[in-house]
């Protein structure tokens, strides 16, 4: 079995996304389910640099590996996370067909964030809390999706425009750029 350069690249991005997810899990949240979703910045960057297929790989590897580390694999939280990831990947597959001269990372990020909460609340309604009461929380989740969607999109845009500082992983161990190795 031989790992190709593609595999190395995907693994490197997925590792970054997993590390961010685990670090983020340590942050307290005012409401269960409201999280910045900073790992989605990595997914966005992968999407814009390497296309949808790689983004799917990175996103799903992140969901599975982070749940294994966190001990929630196949638990309700994992299913919610997977549903959100699948919905946002679906939307990202469509949104990347929008003209790139008009729609940048912020558009993709906001649309994906809304798809994410949409998928999660649907799973919650159909499976975890079979009552319309869950929709009462929807405005809060939507507001969080808007705010974090914009912020994550801006950060992804920054990374995209900062190639010299944060180069795409090649699968080889590259020396750190001057600005980071101080």
């Amino acid at each position: 079995m031989h790992a190709s350069a593609d595999d190395h690249r995907i693994a490197a991005y997925a590792a970054a996304a997993i590390a961010i997810t685990i670090a983020e899990a340590a942050l307290p949240s005012p409401l269960p389910g409201v999280k910045p979703g900073l790992a989605n910045i990595i997914v966005l960057v992968v999407l814009l640099r390497h296309g949808w297929r790689d983004a799917v790989w990175v996103s799903l590897l992140r969901v599975i590996a982070a749940s294994l580390v966190g001990g929630t694999f196949l638990a309700p939280g994992f299913v919610m996370s997977l549903a959100g990831a699948l919905c946002s990947l679906g939307i990202l597959g469509l949104s990347t067909r929008l003209p790139a001269t008009w729609f940048g990372p912020v558009s993709h990020s906001v649309l994906a964030a809304f798809a994410h909460i949409g998928g999660q609340i649907l799973v919650a309604r159909l499976w975890l809390v079979p009552h319309d009461g869950v929709f009462y929380l929807l405005p809060v989740f939507a507001l969080a999706a808007l705010v974090f969607g914009v912020v994550n999109g801006l950060v992804a845009g920054q990374i995209m425009s900062a190639h010299s500082v944060l180069p795409a992983p090649t699968g080889e161990i590259a020396p750190l750029p001057q600005s980071l190795s101080r």
């Binding site: 729609f103 912020v106 929807l138 845009g157 920054q158």
Partner: protein
């Protein structure tokens, strides 16, 4: 020494924004506002329902100012109706809870004068009766 790239004062965070992004953000904001407006507001009340001893005494539209006197076991409670709101103006009860609640404005809000067995409840459009009562 090079300063931190991301926080360089001359570096524009918004440089990656394009016309469509503005459109997306505006639309998404609209969706959020719409969700709050539809899911987080109780409809305004349009009529007051007055009961004594469980019996319906009056159902009054909250359109014109009016006073209703309700006689109960310990005296007379006075309900005041105004445009879009109603309150218990006076009650013979010892603790005056229902009077101190002041004006009720929202659908399903209720003021109960238990000693005199009088209740004042506001009602809105029929689809808003999802709760037995709401206190604010």
């Amino acid at each position: 020494m090079k300063t931190g790239y991301l926080w360089h004062p001359g570096h524009a965070w918004l440089a990656c924004l394009r016309v469509g992004d503005g459109l997306t953000v505006v639309l998404a904001t609209g969706v959020v506002v719409l969700l709050f407006a539809t899911l987080w507001t109780t409809s305004r009340a349009d009529r007051a329902i007055v009961r004594q001893g469980g019996e319906l005494i009056a159902e009054i539209a909250l359109t014109a100012p009016r006073r209703v006197e309700v006689v109960g076991p310990i005296g007379t409670s006075v309900i005041e109706i105004a445009s879009g709101r109603a309150r218990v103006l006076a009650d013979p009860g010892p603790r005056q809870y229902c009077v101190q609640q002041g004006w009720l404005t929202r659908a399903n809000a209720v003021a109960i004068c238990a000693p005199n067995q009088v209740s004042l409840q506001l009602a809105g459009p029929s689809n808003s009766n999802r709760h037995d009562s709401i206190s604010y």
